[in-house]
């Protein structure tokens, strides 16, 4: 479709001038965003950024390497708790975050070992068990604060205290951008190709010299690192974490973000995380909408229970997930491509 004149254009971030310009525009928008939104909305954006980071990693595992993980919430938990504990006692925030990420990666490596022999529902259950085990252990072991959870200390980065949502936003944005670019480079590189090869035919991959065992566990470790870092930031964004944050429901939500967004693509991860997070958090706001809100309240009074109205956001989330995957198997990324093609080939 696009004409390329050199090999470098295959792998570079900015294929041509227009992509560079759009990227710069998007960047300026992102920098200006917190000043255009209310405080709570910036908080929501922070949560979206956290989920983007986690989903970027999970997408490499599920979309690129073709594995399944129903337990990624466990890695998020490890990252969250380890960052808080390390920051609280021994290290400044950034090193704590990075080390927590690596600790999560080690667990990811361990979880990768069953993946060598298992696939499909069997792997799903093994990962599910892992996620559940992490939640239960954290909940019972006093070192992690038990049921009551723990509070992260004040966030200081390079000596400056970050206290407002906006301060935090820029921290999240920088981390998300760096990790996003790294993930993008990875996918287009020899490592990403090896991952995709394993997904498509691990027999052929092996016959071409790809060390399947190593790369599979590496993929788990990589995605766990991202989940751990995301979790670490999440703890500070929320201001408080407890085992209840890290149930299998979280893992399932993360997986939905990957599939709804678009398997194996960076754009997909961003779109999926954004849409599902918004639905999850803002769905309750349905009642506050001008026309639709009272309409649903009326239905509630007639046929349903009024106290249960907040559950409507689950209905919307479920419907959205179903409709997207039913009609656009490539997810939101697929929709995005369709829109681009439509405009490119307009007016035909």
């Amino acid at each position: 479709m696009d004409k390329r004149t050199s090999y470098f254009e295959d792998i570079t971030l900015f294929k041509d001038r227009s992509v560079l310009i759009w990227s710069l525009l998007a960047l300026s928008l992102l920098i200006g965003l917190p000043f255009m939104l209310a405080g709570y909305q910036v908080f929501v954006v922070n949560l979206i950024l956290v989920n983007i980071i986690i989903v970027l990693g999970l997408n490499v595992l599920v979309g690129n390497t073709g594995q399944i993980s129903l337990g990624h919430g466990g890695f998020v938990a490890i990252g969250a708790y380890m960052t808080v504990i390390l920051d609280d006692r021994w290290l400044p925030f950034l090193p704590a975050l990075i080390i927590a990420g690596f600790i999560a990666a080690i667990f990811g490596f361990i979880l990768g070992i069953p993946s060598l022999k298992l696939e499909g529902p069997y792997l799903a259950v093994a990962t599910l068990g892992f996620g559940l085990a992490i939640t239960v252990i954290i909940g019972r072991v006093q070192f992690f604060g038990g049921h009551m959870g723990i509070m992260p200390p004040e966030l200081t980065v390079f000596g400056t205290k970050l206290s407002s949502n906006t301060d935090f936003y820029f921290l999240c944005l920088i981390i998300a951008l760096v990790m996003g670019i790294f993930a993008r480079l990875l996918i287009k590189s020899r490592i990403g190709r090896a991952f995709s090869a394993i997904r498509d035919s691990d027999i052929a991959a092996s016959a071409l010299g790809v060390h399947v065992t190593w790369y599979k566990t590496l993929s788990f470790a990589f995605s766990a690192f991202y989940a751990g870092v995301g979790g670490g930031i999440w703890a500070y964004a929320l201001g408080f974490i407890s085992p209840g944050n890290f149930t299998p429901v979280l893992s399932i939500l993360l997986l939905s973000m990957v599939v709804v967004g678009g398997l194996g693509t960076i754009t997909g991860s961003v779109l999926g995380a954004t849409v599902i997070t918004l639905l999850n958090l803002q769905g309750e706001k349905i009642q506050e909408l001008p026309l639709i809100g009272p309409f649903f309240e009326w239905i509630s009074a007639q046929f349903m229970s009024i106290s249960g109205l907040p559950n409507i956001n689950f209905m919307f989330m479920g419907l959205t997930v179903m409709i997207i995957i039913l009609f656009e198997p490539l997810g939101l990324f697929g929709l995005w491509i369709r829109i681009k093609i439509y405009f490119k080939t307009w007016p035909f």
Partner: protein
Amino acid sequence: MSAVLELKGVTKKFGGLVAVDDVSLDVQQGEIFSIIGPNGAGKSTLFNCINGLYRATEGSVWLNGEEITGAKPHIIAKKGLSRTFQNLELFSKMTTMENLMLGRHLYMKTNFWNLPSMLWRKGAAAKDETKHRQKVEEIIDLLDLQPERNRYTSHLPYGRQKIVELGRALATEPSVLLLDEPAAGLNHEEKEELIFWINDIKRLFDVTILIIEHNMQLVTAISDRIMALNFGKSMVIGSPDQVIKHPDVIKAYLG
């Protein structure tokens, strides 16, 4: 002239089923060695034993004087053995170029720590990518794959897919190449082209080639030696003339 690939008494059993029964052969440097036989004779199983997909139950496999019995496929690939598959094992969700680039996996140096250098044109990782893409272009040129370079392999017609898989195996610069029914599913024209290509490959890349084939025209045209396999046992090994005139071979296979 030394034996590049040697099989000594290789046997492969699946429970009670003996798929390959005490097969021994040696392939000389630069030879084109064909394996023929009826379906189910154990030909692909033999290949799988050679490249490490299966571990031979008994016997041993030697590559360039080094034993590789039971080694993992990626190690064997590293030692210079490459193969294609009877039913195609292409990476269907990737393009032709990406498939071929995977053939260069062993030679590329990109890893986690030099990944950021992919960002600028002169970076180590970026130069690695472009260098190996140029190598892959040579194969694309040889096999006339230019129009399919950026197409997803699952969208290609069957015959072209087979050529891509051949190219991918070549991209690893093997010293020994195993081709499992490379002509199956090709039309007449493509089969003729294949004969030229195999000879070109032998000449240009200095490889030793083992071929499993049913197409006797192809086999007799290019083989230096042929082995006939039946029920897992080797019936005869010899020159094309010797083998196709052998009474057992005629009875079991050529009719």
